[in-house]
Symmetry: C2
Subunit: 416 residues, 2 copies
């Protein structure tokens, strides 16, 4: 069977269009919302702070009452009471009056300044102010942190630590987020084993599923590992049926090359897929493919680890992100770096090339070192911090070129 190679971006576009699974909305407690993606814009129902409040321990005053105050001629105000934290303030403040306040105490209307306790003298129920204060001095204005009605967080935003505090500050109990899509994974190949004893006798230890389940988690999915399946059409059929019934998206690993064991693509054909592509103009990763069966995507990842991961990054990562409410980018972020060595390609001229690089800090910024090593070599990925993409027909990228290094969640890291 001859593979026909297609532009990988085209393939992903078709896949995204053909698959019918939609992000699911879920209501969760704020305390469980960390790292979920918001499914709604969050507008503030309140002003924060709810009232003008004090920035200091001291006395709340009307600034106009302190005009002309000096050490020689202090202005004497009545202490009408104190306003503790969490206490609703008196409605207004009268001319000549003051209230003792703490940092964060709410202020009555008309009160537009706070004098720090270090700057006054107190005698009984009188406070001596020895210098004038400006309107607004040491006052945190009502709504100055968050104004009522303001959209603070938007749908599609991944909830960070500080957002949890914010959601709570807005007096929310629960929030709508996108559910984490279940992503089924099956390892295909009669040579595979989960047993170290069998590996010592020559079988190949399943390693890829360990990496993939961690990548799925990091991408925002919920991995469901279905185990190893031999190179056998009936067994592959069964696992596909199982995977489709239990997940939003299924990944198969291996069984995708043009050898006798190229069974996955053939077997999938029997499911009458509404979309089916085998072969990407992506190197490494060209023997990857994908199809859609009953509205669900199945992504065929090649067995050689760099190809496995490249195809995951190209087809599965953006789909998992889509299903968890994010955009369909193939990274978490990119960083700009300078290529530290020439990057030369010898094969597949009209293919996109994905090159894993390690990053180092230099005086002028980040340097990206392409990691050499064939597609089966896992150590290339162990040393990798991110990847760069090179457009088709560009066979040399010169040392010193500025490149965008894409960071893959769970795999990438940045140098200190």
């Amino acid at each position: 069977m001859q593979i026909e190679y297609t532009d990988p971006d085209e393939v992903f576009k078709e896949l995204l269009k053909a698959q019918q699974v939609k992000p699911q909305v879920l209501t969760v407690n704020i305390s469980d919302a960390f790292n979920f993606v918001l499914a709604e814009d969050v507008a503030s129902p309140i002003d924060v702070p709810a009232f003008n409040s004090s920035h200091l321990d001291g006395f709340a005053v009307r600034s106009m009452d302190t005009e002309g105050a000096s050490l020689q001629n202090p202005i004497i105000l009545n202490i009408k009471g104190s306003i503790d934290l969490g206490e609703l303030p008196p409605v207004t403040i009268q001319k000549g009056d003051s209230y003792q306040v703490r940092t964060g105490s709410y202020l009555p209307e008309g009160c537009d300044a706070v004098v720090g306790k270090e700057d006054v003298k107190v005698e009984g129920d009188k406070v001596y102010v020895t210098k004038p204060v400006k309107p607004g001095s040491e006052v945190v204005r009502k709504g100055s942190d968050v104004a009522k009605g303001m959209v603070v967080l938007r749908a599609g935003h991944k909830i960070k630590a500080q957002d949890l505090g914010m959601l709570r500050l807005l007096r929310l109990d629960k929030v709508k987020v996108y559910a984490k899509p279940v992503v089924a994974v099956a390892s295909i190949g009669s040579e595979l084993t989960e047993s170290i004893e069998e590996a010592e006798k020559g079988k190949t230890l399943n390693t890829h599923a360990y990496t993939l389940t961690a990548l799925i988690k990091s991408a925002g999915g919920e991995p469901l590992y279905l185990g190893i399946v031999p190179d056998d059409t009936a067994a592959i059929k069964d696992i596909i049926v199982e995977g489709l019934s239990k997940s939003s998206l299924m990944l198969t690993i291996g069984g995708s090359s043009i050898g006798e064991a190229d069974l996955v693509s053939k077997t999938l054909q029997t499911f009458a897929p509404t979309m089916h592509k085998h072969g990407l103009k992506l190197h490494p990763g060209r023997v990857a493919g994908c199809c859609v069966v009953k509205g669900k995507a199945i992504i065929i990842l090649p067995g050689l680890i760099q190809s496995t991961i490249n195809a995951f990054v190209y087809l599965a990562l953006p789909l998992i992100r889509h299903l968890s409410g994010l955009d369909t980018s193939r990274c978490e972020a990119t960083v700009r770096a300078k290529l530290a060595e020439d990057l030369v390609f010898h094969r597949f001229p009209d293919f996109k090339k994905m090159t894993w690089v390690s990053l180092k800090k230099a005086e002028e910024g980040l340097l990206a070192y392409p990691i050499r090593g064939d597609s089966p070599m896992l150590n290339v990925l162990v040393r990798a911090d991110g990847y760069i993409l090179t457009e088709p027909n560009k066979m040399i990228v010169e040392k010193g070129t500025a490149v965008d290094v894409a960071l893959v969640p769970g795999l990438s890291s940045l140098p200190k």
Copy 2:
């Protein structure tokens, strides 16, 4: 009580020296090891691949046997058999012989090249090779991914997705990692509530603990939230006793300013701490402190959110990292950016300043925008991507200056 302000780096150094908790070593299954920190160097017990192996589906040959082959004069080799995936190879290959192989099949000794099946013709048990192949052609050399004895991952490394595959590839079942330290958190303040109803009547909703527990998780710790404690010496004593008994490190939030409620520091004094500092030359964050009681660190975080987080980043983050086997840096990584606006400080000349910034991409690289807003404002942090530190006595950092933006796990993100 007058606070004495000390250089925050000095304070952390003393704290780290005085506290006696050590990172704990734990043995976990590889499938559970994601994001743990390795507690041992991992050297490979085996060569990967274990034998020379094939990079293609095709025929394993001795390159010298193919010398002079051409379309006109193909060289005819005997097919002695086939070597399937996961099968131990024959010990050697004889002159004039070949074996049918698949991508990843192990090769017998003496076989130093593979001819792709596209490049041969097969008739019965004979294969016709129509061009010479070079030694090493399409052969993945034994040990070329990982050589036996090579240290692949080092102690102190945080385990990434691809490392899981690598650990398994080295035929490891379990690995030694550092346990996640339990970090107790107590919110202190009679004004606090967990109830939205009470907040509507004026009380302050607990928000900080939501953010802190997520930051603790992201830093590698296991948060243990102990709840709200009123401004009451006996209650504070009780919670400290509880926290110390259940955790490796305790954080208190609030009750640290110089007001009447400055009870935490005073109460801690009654525990006869072996080290005790209150006041950091860090702005915002100056009213933070820490002490060591019975060998365990207690970090006093101020109540105004930016000060809370700054003190967390300065004192707690590096200690959590230390207790989970990492270095004591105050970030996950830094990125270089250009300051987009002048940064001007008016107060605390001899303090370090911590400024939260948002990052934007520009043609020339990243731009860092300082986020303005007082210490109580949470929205500053919601908009933040990272922070920059400014050294004491530097009161202006000019627009265009290259700055290192520190990324805090759980809080930071990078622009796409």
